[in-house]
């Protein structure tokens, strides 16, 4: 599951990716005309809206792509970098950048493109930006308060507006299309000419406008891979469909843990933040977090059998179905609750007088299990938590 860095692509190779993506970035910016300062500034005087068209199309394209890959379960949206928002510094910094844009005629990315094709004014712009950055870093303490004021975390705009991602995507796409039509009209007015759009171009533009809207609508109405997975789990649970899943009762589990603990992964899937006590050797992964990518290698590993336990049998059953759906070849449901296990094994009651041999044997077994498992629990106390696999959210931003 993407993003591929750092798990599938090493951070060192990431720099090679950076260089390659930079080539694509620079190439497209220059092809679009962003190395021309007059073309860039045209946006602000109404004679050339290329910047808006390129910029908006790019943003909408990337946004729909991100939604799409998230929808089909190829991109984990929780892992990608979302710029944090510090209200004052964003607004004031943005206004200062706007002033710099209109005075200098470039932004940092476009100045690099213009430099690459030999524009001397771009070189001077870059020299200026080096100075501006140096000013900030040298006198940082003076700006620190403003820089850090009013942090509201890293919200997504759809959450701020109280709508779904799809709804915002659709809204932005429609706004973009409206802006393209509107600005083309303004541009003609300002320049006093009429741009003729040929029939074939008209057809292409229509397709280009309809396609993104359709894609978003599809994303909106079809269930995402995750939603489908969850509904499959629910319906299998409702229908008691436990195909491919075995069960284990208290005696069996106690026996297996006593003699073959190395063959089992006991996973307590109880939905709680603090688990006071569980089955010895167990790790705690909440059912709702079981499908997180960092647990996938536990679920899918083939050397141990995963036994799902919980303080409530239904949770363990759902967890086993979910595990089976995402690739566990041999999941096992513990058919009792954790507390029943602990009561039976850890508070063994002596058999009544005159008990038969079977009852005495059972008592002995429980006593034995009691000693064994208590020792085990003592030894493994610090292993109750799932292995800490550091989840590194992608770093990003420009500052």
């Amino acid at each position: 599951m993407a993003p591929l860095v750092p798990d599938m692509i090493s951070p060192e190779f990431d720099f090679v990716i950076a260089f390659i993506m930079g080539i694509g970035f620079g190439y497209v910016l220059e092809q679009a005309g962003f190395s021309s300062t007059r073309k860039l500034v045209g946006l602000f005087y109404g004679y050339d809206f290329t910047v808006l068209k390129v910029f908006f199309t790019a943003g909408v394209t990337a946004m729909i792509g991100v939604l799409f890959f998230g929808h089909i379960g190829l991109l984990n949206l929780e892992m990608i970098y979302i710029n944090p928002m510090f209200v004052w510094s964003a607004v004031i910094g943005g206004l200062i950048m706007g002033a710099g844009f209109i005075m200098g005629g470039f932004c940092p990315g476009t100045s690099l493109c213009a430099l690459a094709v030999g524009r001397i004014d771009a070189l001077f712009f870059i020299i200026g930006s080096v100075g501006g950055i140096l000013l900030f870093t040298e006198f940082y303490p003076a700006f620190e308060e403003l820089y850090k004021a009013w942090n509201i975390g890293a919200p997504k705009i759809n959450d701020v507006l109280g709508m779904s991602e799809e709804a915002f995507g659709l809204l932005l796409t429609l706004v973009a299309i409206g802006a393209f039509v509107g600005t083309s009209w303004i541009q003609d007015k300002v320049k006093g000419e009429t741009t003729v759009i040929t029939a074939s171009l008209k057809r292409n533009y229509t397709i280009a406008a309809v396609a993104p809207v359709l894609i978003i609508l599809l994303i909106w109405i079809t269930p995402s891979k995750e939603e489908r997975l969850l509904s499959t789990v629910e319906s299998r649970f409702e229908n008691n469909d436990f195909e491919g899943i075995r069960t284990m009762n208290i005696d069996k589990l106690a026996f297996e843990l006593m003699y073959h603990a190395h063959l089992y992964n006991v996973i307590d899937v109880t939905e709680t933040d603090s688990l006071p006590e569980s089955i010895p050797t167990s790790m705690h992964i909440k059912l709702s977090e079981l499908r997180k990518p960092q647990f996938l290698n536990i679920i899918k590993q083939q050397y141990k059998t995963n036994v799902f336990v919980s303080s409530n049998k239904a949770t363990a059953e759902k967890a086993a179905i979910l595990a089976e759906e995402i690739g566990d070849k041999n999941p096992v449901i513990f058919t009792e609750t954790v507390s029943n296990f602990r009561t039976l094994i850890f508070s063994v009651e002596a058999p009544p007088k005159g008990a038969n041999k079977a009852m005495i044997d059972q008592y002995r077994f429980y006593m034995n299990a009691n000693i064994h498992l208590k020792k085990m629990e003592e030894r493994l106390k610090n292993l109750m938590e799932p292995p800490k696999k550091e989840v590194r959210k992608a770093k990003g931003g420009c500052a």
Binding site: M21, L43, V54, A58, M63, G65, I102, C113, A116
Partner: protein, 176 residues
Amino acid sequence: MSAPKAYMNPYFAGFLLGIVLLTTIYITGRGLGASGGVKAVVQYGVEQVAPEHYNNTPYYANYKENNPGSPLQNWLFYEILGVLVGAFFSGVLGNRIALKLEKGPGVQNKTRLIFAVLGGALFGFGSQLGRGCTSGSALSGMGVMSFGGIMTMFAIFGGAYLFAWFFRKLWINKVN
């Protein structure tokens, strides 16, 4: 030398730019940027010129912590190297490579260069205060629906429109 070729259709260019951004997000989980790459060079410069100052200033120390090793061991530094190469390629293909100065009609070279430096300085400073420029904050922010990125975008473009009137003589001939 033949005349420069026409630019790409803006919507198609935008689509390609979106694909580059999407690919970057898909592979690395982060967006594109520009000012951060220039910043890496600035940090490197400070480290080389005044190593003692670099090591003793909290801001640089903090930067170093996030970029262990050289300040140039930075994603955006490698990315802007790519930008230079990619833009150069495109310029060659479009016959646009030329050592020249672009400016508004009737503007003196000296004026253009002074304002280029001033504008650069403001943009450089603003990008640090606002945690990213048009690429890292506005464009990449839009791709991932970041509220902060989109607000910064509005501030940048809004600011430029706000100040456009004052600097109109830099860019357009007639004052309507």
